[in-house]
C-alpha cells in the first residue's frame, strides 16, 4: 500500500505554481528568450520556465494537452492555428520579433550580393523551406536575385536554422543563409539580406492562460526594455 502511494506520488504532476510562467519558445529564439526571462524575473519576481523546441512540435503538443502559459512561435501559422482552435486567448496574438536573414561566408573577405552572383561554392546551406520560415525566405531571396537555378544543385538543407548554422560552422558547407541573430558579432563575413527580397519572417506569440504571471510576461514582451533586448540580438521589432 505504501509502495502504491509512493508510485502515485512519483507519477502525479506537481501543480504549476502561481508565480511560475511556462513558455514554449521556438529554438531559434531560445538564447534571446533566456535573457528576456532573466530581465522579467528581476523586474517582477515571477519565475519563467522555458521549453525550447520546434514550433511545429510545440503546436502539436499544445493541441494535445501540453500546459504552457505563453507560446512564442517561429512563424504566424501555428499561433493562428491555436487561436482558431480556441486554445489561445483571443486577441493576444502579436508579432514579437522579425527575423533577419544573412549570407554567411567564412572564407570570403568581402561578402555582398555579388558573392551570390559570381562565386561558386561546394555547398550553400539553407534551412529546409518546407519546415522553417528562414528556409522559405532563403529560397525567395535566391529567386528574387535570379540565382536560384544556379544554386539549386549545390543546396544542402538543414532541418532548422540551427543545423544550417552548424553546417557552415563546421566547414562542411562553404556558405549559408542563416539567421542574423546567430552570427551577430562577426560582421565582416556576412551580408545582411535586404528585407524586400523575401516575405517577412514574423515570429508571433500568443497567451494560453489567464494566469496573472502569464499576462504580465506577455505584456513585458512588448515593453520598451524587451524590444531593445530583442533588437540587440539581431532581430527587428514591429
Amino acid at each position: 500500500m505504501r509502495a502504491f502511494a509512493l508510485l502515485l506520488f512519483l507519477f502525479s504532476t506537481l501543480p504549476a505554481s502561481a508565480v511560475e510562467v511556462r513558455v514554449a519558445v521556438a529554438s531559434n529564439f531560445f538564447t534571446t528568450a533566456e535573457i528576456l526571462a532573466q530581465e522579467f524575473e528581476m523586474l517582477t519576481g515571477y519565475e519563467v520556465v522555458l521549453l525550447a523546441g520546434s514550433t511545429g512540435k510545440h503546436a502539436a503538443q499544445i493541441s494535445n494537452g501540453l500546459r504552457v502559459d505563453v507560446f512564442m512561435a517561429a512563424d504566424v501559422a501555428r499561433p493562428l492555428l491555436l487561436e482558431e482552435k480556441g486554445l489561445a486567448i483571443k486577441g493576444s496574438r502579436f508579432t514579437y520579433a522579425k527575423g533577419r536573414l544573412a549570407l554567411w561566408w567564412p572564407s570570403e573577405t568581402k561578402v555582398n550580393e555579388e558573392s551570390l552572383r559570381n562565386k561558386a561554392a561546394g555547398h550553400l546551406a539553407i534551412a529546409n523551406p518546407k519546415l522553417a520560415p528562414y528556409g522559405m525566405a532563403a529560397v525567395q531571396t535566391l529567386k528574387a536575385l535570379d540565382v536560384y537555378k544556379h544554386w539549386r544543385t549545390y543546396l544542402v538543407r538543414g532541418e532548422n536554422i540551427a543545423q544550417t548554422y552548424q553546417f557552415v560552422h563546421t566547414g562542411n558547407a562553404d556558405a549559408g543563409l542563416v539567421a542574423l541573430s546567430q552570427i551577430k558579432g562577426r560582421p565582416e563575413k556576412i551580408w545582411l539580406i535586404p528585407e524586400e527580397l523575401h516575405s517577412p519572417i514574423k515570429q508571433q506569440a500568443v497567451l494560453l492562460s489567464s494566469k496573472q504571471a502569464a499576462i504580465k510576461f506577455h505584456a513585458f514582451l512588448r515593453s520598451e526594455k524587451a524590444l531593445e533586448l530583442i533588437r540587440d540580438h539581431g532581430y527587428d521589432t514591429p
Binding site: 511545429g56 529546409n128 543546396l155 538543407r157 566547414g171 562542411n172
Partner: protein, 226 residues
C-alpha cells in the same frame, strides 16, 4: 500515393542498406572471428568499442561525424583531396555513418556464431592438414551460417531505420542523401500525413518481413538440431 521524391528516397534507402550490409559483412567477419577466438587480455576494450553505437544517441555519432567530415580536419581534408568533394551531404558519407551505426548488429551475431564452433572440429581439420584459411572457409563459415543470416538481416534492417545520423550529416538532398526516414519526418512535420503514411507503412512492412525471416530461420535451425 508515392511522389517521385518518395520513390527515390525508398530506392536510396535500399541501396544504402545493401551497400552498408555488404561492407559490414566483409569487414565484420574477420573482426568477429578474431573477437571469438582471441585470448588477448584486453579484448573487452574492443568489444566495448564495437557495442558503443548500441547505446550512444545517434546525435552524438552524427555530431562527431560532421566534425570529422569537415575539410578543416585531417580526415575530411584527406577525403576532400582524394575525392574532390566533402563527405558530408554525400551518399559516401552516409555509407560511412551507416557502417559505424550498424556495426554491433553485424558483429555480435557473427561473434556468437563463431564462439559456438567447437575447437575440436577445427583441430580435427588441422590434423587432416587443412590450412587455417581452408579451415575457416570450409568449416567455420558453413557452421556459422545462421549467424551470417542474422547479421545480414539485422544490419540491413537497422540501416533502413537509420534517422538521427543521416539527419545530422545528410543535408536532405533528394536522390543523394534524402532517405525514407528523412522523407517521412519531412512529411510529418509539414502535415502531409497521407504521404507519410504510405512511406511509413512501406518501412513497417519491410522491417517486419525481414525480422520474420530472422526468427523463422532461427526456429528452423533449432528444430533441425533437436
Amino acid at each position: 500515393m508515392f511522389s517521385p521524391d518518395d520513390i527515390s528516397a525508398l530506392q536510396l534507402t535500399l541501396k544504402l542498406a545493401a551497400i552498408s550490409t555488404g561492407l559490414l559483412l566483409l569487414l565484420g567477419t574477420p573482426l568477429a572471428w578474431w573477437l571469438a577466438r582471441s585470448q588477448w587480455r584486453f579484448k573487452f576494450l574492443i568489444e566495448a568499442l564495437v557495442a558503443l553505437p548500441l547505446v550512444l544517441p545517434p546525435t552524438v555519432l552524427g555530431f562527431y561525424l560532421l566534425i570529422a567530415f569537415s575539410p578543416n580536419n585531417w580526415f575530411g581534408g584527406l577525403m576532400m583531396s582524394v575525392t574532390g568533394e566533402t563527405l558530408a551531404f554525400s551518399f559516401m558519407g552516409l555509407v560511412i555513418g551507416s557502417v559505424i551505426y550498424s556495426l554491433p548488429f553485424v558483429i555480435q551475431p557473427l561473434q556468437n556464431a563463431f564462439t559456438m564452433i567447437s575447437s575440436q572440429s577445427l583441430e580435427a581439420a588441422a590434423t587432416l592438414r587443412a590450412s587455417p584459411l581452408d579451415r575457416f572457409f570450409s568449416i567455420a563459415i558453413p557452421l556459422a551460417r545462421p549467424g551470417f543470416i542474422s547479421a545480414a538481416v539485422l544490419g540491413f534492417a537497422h540501416t533502413l531505420g537509420e534517422f538521427g545520423v543521416v539527419l545530422m550529416i545528410g543535408g536532405n538532398i533528394p536522390g543523394e542523401t534524402q532517405v525514407a526516414s528523412i522523407a517521412i519526418y519531412e512529411h510529418v512535420e509539414s502535415l502531409e500525413y497521407t504521404q507519410a503514411h504510405w512511406l511509413a507503412g512501406c518501412l513497417l512492412l519491410l522491417s517486419f518481413v525481414l525480422l520474420i525471416l530472422v526468427y523463422a530461420s532461427n526456429r528452423q535451425l533449432r528444430i533441425m538440431r533437436t
